[in-house]
Amino acid sequence: MSAAAHSSSLVLAASSTTEHRPLIISLFAVFVAATLAITVWAGRQTKSASDFYAGGRQFTAFQNGLAVSGDYMSAASFLGIAGAIALFGYDGFLYSIGFLVAWLVALLLVAEPLRNSGRYTMGDVLAYRMRQRPVRTAAGVSTIVVSIFYLLAQMAGAGVLVALLLGITGDTGKILIVALVGVLMILYVTIGGMKGTTWVQMVKAVLLIAGALLMTFMVLWKFDFNVSDLLGTAAEKSGHGKAFLEPGLKYGATGVSKLDFISLGIALVLGTAGLPHILIRFYTVPTAKAARKSVNWAIGIIGAFYLMTIALGFGAAALIGPDEIKAKNPAGNAAAPQLAEYLGGVGTTGGAVLLAVISAVAFATILAVVAGLTLASSSSFAHDIYANVIRRGKATEKEEMRAARWATVAIGIVSIALGAMARDLNVAGLVALAFAVAASANLPTILYSLFWKRFTTQGALWSIYGGLASSVVLVLFSPVVSGKASSMFPDVDFAWFPLENPGLISIPLGFLLGWIGSVVSKEEPDTDKYAELEVKSLTGTGAH
């Protein structure tokens, strides 16, 4: 999952990458030019708030399924999982499974009712039968916090990618790249809105799948399509033998690391259906049925992609070997590009081209994901906090869209600043934190709102703020932040919480607080509003 490694580990043998730099940069420039053209085209058609927030709700289920996949498969999935499998074998594969199974929660419980009863944001559904201002504020805060953590991880990942793929190791170079990513995402979102962002994500998803498919085919070709042979060679070359194909290399060391794995596993499976940038994608299709179909497409596309990471990861282990992978990046993040160069032929034009293509795909991946995250947080600011809390529902559509655009610029600038500071941080913790916060603060409130009659405003607030605070505080005092060589602040130690992922504690706490907050609440639940929400969410009556 880690798309970045620690600064000290970024000592690179950059000789081979610097040669390919012009090719990689030109391919990247082509992608940027093409997506900006799409964005300008989409911007011309973005007139109403519904266009800006929800792409006019005119995308087909397949288009949205592609875009959902593009929004979901971050650089962490592509480079991180391939690298984790290449170095830790089977334990790397465990991520893929959690990331995929999570979609069933979205499919069975969240996507359709959300599409039926909301308009633009997650807050629309959470606040539906509650007191508007406090719940919208909470939903906005939680959306922005989750998205910023996720954004930070992607921004920091961009810096590391550049170091890996272009051989730029200086601080200035990395800050410049973070700034470039930030400026591009501001342009995509302010000009193109949801329409532009959706098209960028579709293009990226197609590129990523095509790249992975090509490499998977080439890896299997090398082993005469004998998967067992591929696994055997990988195990042999890894130096771990049979253990490479079994769980435990990464997480099996101690009782605590085993608990950490369980915590991570729970956060992954429950986090997806609470990620705001994923949830707002369901508003881009006309009906709940189309939302269901787009999740089905996404499950197919994402599942196929994660199956291919098996071939890529074990292929890198078998064909390149752990020593060379670690020499380039100790976390294994360079394994996929290294494999691309190997498959094309090291030192040949084919190798250079394939490396450049796969590197450009990795950049495209980051850009599409940050655009989706920025849109989710600026939408929530403009629609939940500005229009409904500050202006108490009296803002015009024009004013709301203007607020969304300015929020995009502000969030972009904040992410550039934080991303520049975080450029050397270990991002694994940040992404896992985003999932844990989403599962602790958002998912309980979404499920209670939709399915539990007695849920109250107080329950919603306790659940959102309690889940948010507990997960953030536990991470703050975990080994992710201090006490270990791989921490953000390795020189100090104020970690008293042993797990790197807070989900094991904070997710049950979020559910528990939502329940307690409701039953001890003095106010009666608004049963009329619940009737409205329940009928709407199941039938789609009066849906926007």
């Binding site: 708030a49 089977y90 009296k394 409205e532 789609g540």
Partner: protein
């Protein structure tokens, strides 16, 4: 409706006429709606519990039953690998199974209530 900002001029986000709260409350109490709710909940809730338990079993076995997971099934494939692929397979299968159920048992009921409410509103 208090949920949203009042529809501003020039909006293209036209929503159909909204039934009144009384209509929604009545509908919620109706036998027809109870059947729709049951068609969704009696399918989605147990299935959710089931796939989460199945996934947690996999996570727990990976953590605490390393020897069992390392047992060879055939060639270089062990139990862990087969178990992992089985998670993929069940995910695809459940998605298909739910969609089929929704299309035959949920959608027609939902559609009937929706068109009646929107026609009356």
């Amino acid at each position: 409706m208090a949920t949203d900002a009042p529809p501003p001029q020039g909006s293209t986000d036209n929503s159909p006429a909204q039934p009144t709260t009384e209509v929604f409350v009545e509908t919620q109490k109706s036998a027809e709606f109870a059947e729709l709710r049951r068609a969704h909940r009696s399918f989605a809730f147990p299935l959710t519990v089931g796939f989460i338990a199945w996934y947690l079993l996999y996570v727990l076995l990976s953590s605490y039953a390393g020897d069992f997971m390392g047992t060879t099934v055939f060639a270089n494939f062990n139990v862990a690998f087969v178990f992992g692929l089985a998670q993929f397979a069940t995910t695809f299968l459940i998605a298909w199974f739910y969609s089929r159920h929704a299309a035959t048992k949920i959608d027609p009921k939902a559609e009937a209530i929706k068109s009646r409410l929107e026609a009356d509103a």
